[in-house]
């Protein structure tokens, strides 16, 4: 199973490192990263695999959102099913 982590906020050093470190902490594998910077605003979508995650997925969401709070970024982590169900027939 996969999840999507989305990050939006003012660009600072170490955003990608902080998010990927948190993923590594809980054995969440990063499959794909898509990032852009528009007018100093950092936007990233990360597709991660959560098959071997070591804590409950909802706890991981809390952890990853805490990274956002520390760095003043808006971070969301959503299970892939919502994207698949909305966009695939």
């Amino acid at each position: 199973m996969k999840a999507i982590i989305s990050v939006v906020g003012k660009d600072t050093v170490g955003i990608l490192a902080a998010v990927s470190a948190k993923c590594a902490d809980y054995n969440v594998n990063i499959n794909d990263v898509n990032q852009t910077i528009i007018d100093e605003y950092f936007t990233m979508y990360m597709i991660v695999n959560i098959d071997s995650i070591t804590i409950p997925f909802t706890s991981f969401i809390d952890e990853i959102q805490n990274v956002g709070k520390e760095k003043n970024l808006k971070i969301q982590c959503m299970h892939e099913d919502i994207f698949n169900s909305m966009h695939k027939i």
């Binding site: 996969k2 999507i4 989305s6 499959n31 794909d32 898509n34 979508y45 597709i47 997925f57 909802t58 969401i61 969301q76 982590c77 959503m78 299970h79 892939e80 099913d81 919502i82 994207f83 698949n84 169900s85 909305m86 966009h87 695939k88």
Partner: protein
């Protein structure tokens, strides 16, 4: 296979900027096995059964909301019409209302529906007692919602019940006049009520339903409006309908996902997804603004009924394919006080009650959350109910009346209910007397179902 970036961005934008949410997860619970000839025992069984089945409802709703990043605004419970319990147990029906209120508070849901009676063809034991107690029950409780079905296409309209309900609406408003007449906002009078509606105030758990089911009501007027805003102004109306269908499909798929997941987590059968566009007073979450985006200067002008008909039909067409089980009221709601665009249209004088009545012939339900003058006589409210029920009866659709007489307020005032119920300016209503008609009583005969003109 995981989605492409555009689809990810679209989903997140719908939730973050366009107010996409699941409006409600409603657990329907049958109380048939709680009926006892002793009302105190009956109330105890009601409390225990609802508590047992729904104690995890709020927690499950919050977990799903977190997992998918989609807000689930309300968690609610609907129950078997309480008049059936009153018919066996006797006693003061308000005891049931207080029991429902207590259990709703203890499990943390924000409304519990089913303080209801179905009297479209006459009054069975318990019906009259319950109906007479509605104003008091709603005034003395916080979470209880009430509905009464007074007509249907097959049965006709019970004009005696219509007369009584006009009086009860006034009574409810008068009892709660110091609290914005709020009791009247929690009662709805139906024609052709559906048994699996997850939306309040009209939700009840029909007797044809299973012991316990999960019904989901989706929302998303903001998403539809945003999709239409990107459409060129010269796009044909068929293109507009197609965009609404596609958007409704996506919104409904999300509701289906949430419903299936909730039923799995709670160990309860999945009931239906209600494909509704339910507005809120929040900016950008308005059905009226969709109609304006379709090309109207303001909601309420000529063309409003046509645009609403297109919207309502397209929402159903898009939604039906997206869900394995569709039901409830399914369509576009037009509650005045809960919709920023409707409020504006009322204040500017563009929208009047007669236009709303026409709109209810093509929308999902009826005259909803309309503040009427406090001196409106009961028989005028009854006749309004009769008009609305007639539209439902003849057109084989659900119609309803939820009006709030603004007791003690002056013209130009407004009632402010707060939260999702919003606020509404007083809408003028004609007071030419229908008293002789309403006083006749009896049954309006069921209509012919052929010679359709």
């Amino acid at each position: 296979m995981i989605n492409n970036k555009d689809e990810i961005v679209e989903t997140i934008r719908m939730i973050e900027e366009e107010n996409l949410d699941v409006r409600t997860i409603t657990m329907g619970i049958s109380l048939i096995d709680c009926i006892d000839t002793d009302i105190n025992k009956s109330c105890e069984k009601v409390y225990n059964k609802i508590y047992k089945y729904a104690k995890d409802l709020v927690k499950v709703g919050e977990t799903i909301s977190k997992k998918y990043g989609i807000p689930i605004v309300n968690k609610r419970v609907s129950v078997t019409p309480i008049s059936m319990l009153v018919g066996v147990s006797g006693g003061d029906p308000v005891l049931y209302a207080k029991t429902l209120d207590r259990v709703a508070k203890d499990i943390g849901v924000n409304f519990i529906g089913g303080y209801s009676a179905l009297v479209q063809k006459g009054f069975a034991p318990g019906d009259m007692e319950l109906i007479n107690s509605i104003p008091r029950a709603l005034n003395e409780t916080e979470f209880v919602c009430s509905s009464v079905n007074i007509g249907s296409t097959r049965a006709g309209i019970n004009l005696d019940a219509v007369k009584i309900m006009g009086e009860k609406v006034r009574e409810a408003a008068e009892l709660s006049k110091d609290r914005e007449c709020i009791a009247a906002s929690k009662m709805v009078v139906f024609c052709n009520a559906v048994e699996d509606n997850p939306f309040m105030a009209g939700a009840f758990h029909g007797v044809g339903e299973a012991d316990c089911v999960i019904n989901v009501g989706v929302s998303g007027p903001g998403v539809v409006r945003a999709a239409l805003a990107k459409t060129p102004k010269d796009a044909s109306i068929a293109d507009v309908a197609d965009i609404i269908k596609k958007t409704a499909f996506k919104v409904t798929r999300m509701g289906q996902l949430v419903g299936v997941e909730a039923s799995k987590m709670l160990g309860v059968e999945f009931g239906i997804v209600d494909l509704s566009l339910a507005p809120t007073p929040a900016v950008g979450d308005s059905v009226a603004h969709i109609l304006e985006e379709m090309g109207l200067e303001q909601c309420g002008g000529v063309g409003t009924t046509a645009c609403l008909a297109i919207l309502n039909d397209a929402v159903k067409k898009g939604g039906v394919m997206a869900s394995s089980r569709v039901g409830g009221l399914s369509g576009a709601f037009i509650p005045v006080s809960e919709d920023a665009g409707m409020i504006d249209a009322t204040e500017s004088g563009a929208l009047c009650i007669e236009k709303l009545e026409a709109m209810t012939a093509v929308c999902s339900v009826g005259l909803d959350m309309i503040v009427i003058p406090g001196d409106t006589p009961a028989e005028v409210i009854s006749a309004l109910i009769a008009d609305e029920a007639a539209i439902g009866m003849i057109n084989s659709k659900t119609t309803a009346v939820r009006v709030i007489p603004a007791i003690g307020r002056k013209e130009g005032d407004r009632l402010n209910f707060g939260g999702l119920l919003g606020y509404g300016p007083i809408m003028p209503i004609r007071k030419l007397s229908p008293k002789t008609f309403i006083d006749r009583g009896g049954q309006i005969p069921a209509p012919l179902n052929s010679l359709k003109n």
